[in-house]
């Protein structure tokens, strides 16, 4: 078999083999899943090292072929997807809280196969096929992770939000394909589309909606925090933290710089979307009191940085966006893994019930610290370098306001991780957690690996930039200079100021909250104006999905139903009523009276003669 097909076909076949196994077999399913994921990872690494190749089959009629292509960006993405699949399959080995193991692993492998397909597809229809195909597994992943109704409801929410935006993507793809005359992305890139006329703007916006919704940006993010509480930690670490971000940002990049040549207006739209996502989500994250829910809002907020980076449209910003894409997946996935480990060992994710876990779970604690420092953008870990590139790119566009928004985001990110780390791993340990032990080795291993990547991509930031990001930019036909290098310049000092501000804020919050770390955000949470806003947000007043489902959909469908009832009246009640009326009226004349019949006949004859006479007489 062709090497390119292995990362798609192997997980697919293994997933169906899993379904045939009994739920009672011990470790057989896990071993199969881990094996498939590792082999796929090796294949992906091999593909990455080989020069780009392509593979094509005739598929949907003659116009649309099934084309896979391993250019540098695709190969990089495939490697990332396979890495996270392998990490999660190892991580879930001895985690009971993931629903039925068989179905969990089935969903995992299917998601991997389809995500690999998205990464490799060159034809937009093939990409759409894999992209939309993920929907089914997104649903079953969440719905089966817990036996509660809330899980089913959240699964439906996730499914509907993504299905609707996937339809937008479908519409975008068909219009793009029609304007360009081909569905092949590499062919379109030779002759990029411009936003000169309304159809191409419409097409790009639809593609944008599909991409940012997959990445989980505002306002399509609202299922992610719900899933944090209603599904399992490995799901969160795998799909919303890693796979969705990778695919969404990947396609956003393709659409924005590879397929279309954007103009200044669209650049502003993208950067605004990024900044709004950063701020809205981080404000929500800051006040959360649940470990996973807090992380989930950060998963949204970090997407904003990537969109902001891509939206700058300059090489530095795009490089920052792509670098942040992989960095975020690494540390966010690692953070969700620590959440899963804490949940497994203590039975809760509620910050008010946790505390002082560092001594009993030192490895988890260290991993958490590394990942938290990374996500907060503190030098010299990987998050610092990618954020620095994004800041530079933003400043280069001249719009300082977006830079400011990004820095405020950084401040709140660090503040909320101070709160989270303090509440979970430090401070006083509650009585019932005295016996807590460290998580099993199979969970620690992937956590350590990801934390190691955080450190390696930080201290050796040149390596990933030269190996992954720079070739990706080349694959996107972007000319660029040297990307790496640590400079103690103004940006670095601003980041130091942000760190100090966050620490001071934490101190203030602590003293205001009576020394309890989980209340360290209350001074902002319950500040005037903000308090009411947060209360509204808790009631889901800003949740586009809930508002639409509660108000817009019932209203529109009632209106349409009225139209339907009217048509029913017009085709059923009205004709039968009319027929009844006329037959009733005519039957009144048919009463058997001879004089009446004669009178009617005579009257009819007279009318006929008059009519005939007025038309020229009888002839």
């Amino acid at each position: 078999m062709n090497l390119i097909l292995i990362p798609i076909v192997l997980p697919l076949v293994s997933a169906f083999a899993l379904l045939c196994m009994s739920e009672r077999t011990k470790y057989l399913k896990e071993v199969l899943a881990v094996g498939a994921a590792l082999v796929s990872l090796l294949a992906a690494a091999n593909i990455f090292l080989l020069p780009p190749t392509a593979l094509s089959y005739s598929w949907l009629g003659s116009g649309i072929s099934f084309t896979l292509k391993t250019d540098n960006l695709s190969a990089f993405l495939l490697l990332a997807v396979s890495l996270f699949s392998a990490a999660i399959s190892v991580y879930s080995f001895s985690l009971p809280a993931k629903g039925p193991a068989k179905w969990f692993l089935f969903n995992l492998l299917m998601t991997q196969a389809f995500a690999a397909g998205v990464a490799l597809a060159d034809n937009m229809v093939a990409m759409l096929f894999f992209w939309e195909g993920l929907l089914v597994f997104l649903y079953t992943f969440i719905a089966l992770s817990q036996p509660t109704h809330a899980a089913k409801r959240t699964a439906m929410k996730a499914f509907l939000i993504n299905a609707v935006t996937d339809l937008c993507l479908l519409a975008g793809v068909v219009i793009t394909g029609y304007i360009a005359g081909t569905f092949s992305m590499s062919e379109i890139s030779h002759n990029k589309l411009t936003l000169d006329y309304s159809w191409s703007i419409f097409a790009y916006v639809l593609l944008l909606v599909g991409a940012v919704s997959k990445a989980g940006a505002f306002p399509f993010h609202t299922w992610i925090p719900d899933a944090a509480t209603d599904s399992s930690a490995p799901f969160m670490a795998y799909v919303p933290a890693a796979i969705d971000k990778l695919l969404g940002i990947y396609f956003l990049t393709r659409a924005s710089v590879y397929l279309f040549a954007l103009d200044g207006k669209m650049q502003l739209v993208l950067m605004t979307l990024g900044a709004v996502t950063i701020l809205v989500a981080v404000m929500m994250a800051f006040v959360q009191k649940d470990y996973k829910r807090l992380l989930s809002y950060h998963a949204v907020s970090q997407t904003g940085y990537m969109i902001l980076g891509i939206g700058t449209l300059n090489p530095i910003g795009i490089a920052g966006g792509l670098f942040h894409m992989i960095n975020n997946a690494v540390f966010k996935s690692c953070l969700f893994m620590t959440a899963g480990a804490v949940e497994r060992q203590t039975g809760t994710n509620d910050l008010s019930k946790l505390g002082g876990l560092f001594r009993s779970m030192p490895v988890t604690g260290v991993c958490f610290l590394i990942a938290a420092v990374s996500i907060s953008g503190i030098a010299p870990l990987n998050g610092f370098f990618s954020k620095e590139l994004i800041y530079k790119g933003t400043l280069e566009t001249g719009y300082k306001v977006f830079f400011l928004a990004a820095e405020i985001g950084s401040f709140l990110t660090l503040a909320s991780f101070l709160k989270l780390g303090h509440a979970a791993f430090f401070g006083k340990r509650p009585e019932n957690l005295k016996e807590t032990k460290e998580a099993p080795f199979s969970m620690l291993l992937p956590m350590l690996a990801l934390a190691g990547i955080c450190a390696a991509f930080g201290f050796g930031a040149r390596l990933p930039l030269e190996w992954f990001i720079s070739p990706s930019l080349t694959a996107l036909n972007i000319q660029h200079g040297v990307l790496s290098g640590f400079h103690p310049d103004k940006l670095y000092f601003i980041s130091v100021i942000v760190i100090l501000a966050a620490v001071i804020n934490h101190m203030v919050g602590l003293s205001a909250g009576g020394g309890k770390a989980c209340k360290a955000s209350d001074h902002i949470h319950y500040a005037p104006v903000l308090k009411e806003t947060y209360a509204l947000a808790e009631r889901r007043a800003f949740d586009l999905y809930e508002q639409t489902m509660d108000h817009a959909v019932p209203f529109a469908s009632k209106l349409l139903y009225r139209a339907d009832r009217f048509l029913d009246w017009a085709t059923d009640t009205l004709p039968s009523g009319a027929a009844g009326f006329f037959s009733g009226a005519f039957s009144r004349f048919h009463n058997g009276s001879y004089p009446l019949y004669m009178a009617l006949t005579l009257a009819g004859t007279v009318i006929y003669i008059l009519l005939a006479a007025s038309n020229g007489g009888l002839r």
Partner: protein, 479 residues
């Protein structure tokens, strides 16, 4: 006669005449009657499908019986008619197998089987007819059979709904007859092969369209279809999902797609009408609480997508619409049959009285979910490809309002199907006693349809290559 021509004539004659032998077989024994009916269905399918090899080789099989005044009885098997006949006969055969258990609790079974097979036979006649007059004759025969079948239960309400069905469709058919007469006076023949590529007047086109819309339950004649949901679920699956409503669509493809060159303004009007139909019926599907009415409204809204493809005026859309017919027949047939299992085992059609059925009916639930996904157009199911091609064609057509209407229609399709699935299978159980799973043959039938939907997606190359070839060979006035 050649073998293909024999197959063509038997595909029509065997079910039409065989239907009248079913009462005789019923005299022998119930088993004999049931076996005979299923055999007739299977035989029809085999006969129709055997013609594939002929038509893909680029030939047609024709059979003619001459009548005076140019009103010959002509059967012709080309790519379009064989495609349509095979789908109809296949779904009908599955429905007959499913009926064995489903219908066994009711009275008038002999009439039921007779009418189903007669319906199948008239459908074959309609599809293979290459003369507008004989198409009309078979058209009315299907109407008659569906009238008896919708009124299968004999309460006043059922009979009233059955009368509504036939009155609306016959009204449309009579309008169509006037249109056909106008064509006859214009060209002196009703042989579709001779009329290939001719132009058609607006008046005749509008009259024929009235008949098509009435039969295919499209705005403004859509409401008879949900009302006909009083019939047994097998009947609704056969008539209202898979076969009968496709007659109108087929006639549109046959008359305006591969025979006459439809005027542009006419096609545009059809697009807007279909868009409105998609939206209105989807809205109704979100309000209704009767499981079968919801699925019926869903049919109305999906039929509109087929019209979108057929009327968009380009090859991509036309081929997509034909694929849509295939995917929708399979998936929607499956949904109605699932509804039959649910209805029979819960003794209600109200989705508010269901809830949480997945735990006691897992196979039905899975089949229902898979069929719904295909109707929604989610990959890797076959429905994805047909929806994609239809949208692709609509984009080429270049009308933004139409595209937006159908995008909204597709979104609403997602909403009502997810709502339906959630209300029936998930959610809180509403006071039922965890009904049993359906019988083996019934569950196997629905699962077969669901898996075929999946297989059609995996092997999309073959059906799409077929419809593309069909469009290239037969299409008239397509971009």
């Amino acid at each position: 006669m050649d073998l293909p021509i024999q197959m063509l004539t038997t595909a029509v004659a065997v079910p039409v005449f065989g239907a009248f032998l079913i009462p005789l077989a019923g005299r022998v024994s119930t088993t004999a009657r049931n076996a005979f009916a299923v055999l007739l269905g299977l035989f029809t399918f085999v006969a129709a499908a055997s013609l594939f090899s002929t038509v893909t080789g680029g030939e047609t099989a024709d059979y003619a019986l001459s009548f005076p005044l140019g009103l010959d009885f002509i059967l012709s098997a080309d790519m379009l008619s064989v495609f349509m006949a095979s789908i109809s006969a296949f779904v009908s055969a599955i429905i007959l197998i499913y009926s064995l258990d489903y219908i066994s609790h009711y009275e008038n079974q002999t009439e039921y089987y007779t009418m189903v097979v007669l319906f199948l036979g008239s459908m074959m006649g309609l599809v293979f007819s290459a003369s507008l007059l004989w198409m009309y004759v078979f058209w009315e025969m299907t109407g008659f059979a569906s009238w008896r079948l919708v009124g299968f239960f004999r309460s006043d309400r059922d009979v009233a709904k059955a009368n509504k069905t036939i009155l609306v469709t016959v009204f449309g058919a009579l309008c169509m007859l006037i249109g056909i007469v106008m064509i006859y006076f214009d060209y002196g023949t009703l042989d579709l092969r001779a009329l290939h590529g001719q132009s058609i007047s607006y008046a005749a086109a509008a009259l024929i369209l009235t008949g098509i819309l009435a039969k295919s339950a499209t705005l403004p004649f859509s409401t008879w279809l949900p009302d006909a949901g009083v019939a047994p679920s097998t009947v609704t699956a056969l008539l209202h999902a898979a076969v009968l409503v496709k007659i109108g669509v087929y006639a549109y493809a046959r008359i305006f797609g591969v025979t006459f060159a439809a005027p542009d303004g006419f096609s545009n009007a059809v697009l807007y009408l279909a868009g409105a139909s998609a939206l209105v019926s989807a809205g109704a599907a979100l309000i209704e609480t009767d499981i079968k009415r919801i699925i019926a409204y869903s049919t109305v809204s999906q039929i509109a997508f087929i019209f979108l493809g057929l009327a968009s005026g380009n090859r991509t859309a036309f081929a997509g619409a034909l694929l849509y017919i295939l995917m929708h027949s399979v998936a929607k047939g499956g949904l109605f049959l699932c509804a039959g299992i649910i209805e029979q085992n819960t003794h209600t059609k109200d989705i508010n009285k269901m809830g949480g059925l997945f735990s006691s009916m897992p196979v039905t639930g899975t089949a229902f979910a898979l069929c719904s996904l295909s109707v929604m157009g989610i990959p890797p199911f076959g429905g994805f490809f047909s929806k994609f091609l239809v949208f692709s064609g609509a984009a080429q057509n270049g009308s933004l309002p139409v595209l937006l209407m159908f995008l909204a229609g597709a979104v609403m399709t997602l909403l009502y199907l997810v709502r339906l699935f959630y209300k029936i299978f998930l959610g809180d159980p509403a006071g039922h006693k965890s009904p049993r799973e359906g019988s083996y043959t019934m569950v196997a039938s629905v699962m077969a349809l669901a898996l075929i939907g999946l297989a059609l997606g995996a092997l999309i190359y073959y059906p799409s290559a077929y419809t593309e070839l069909l469009t290239a060979n037969l299409g008239v006035n397509l971009q």
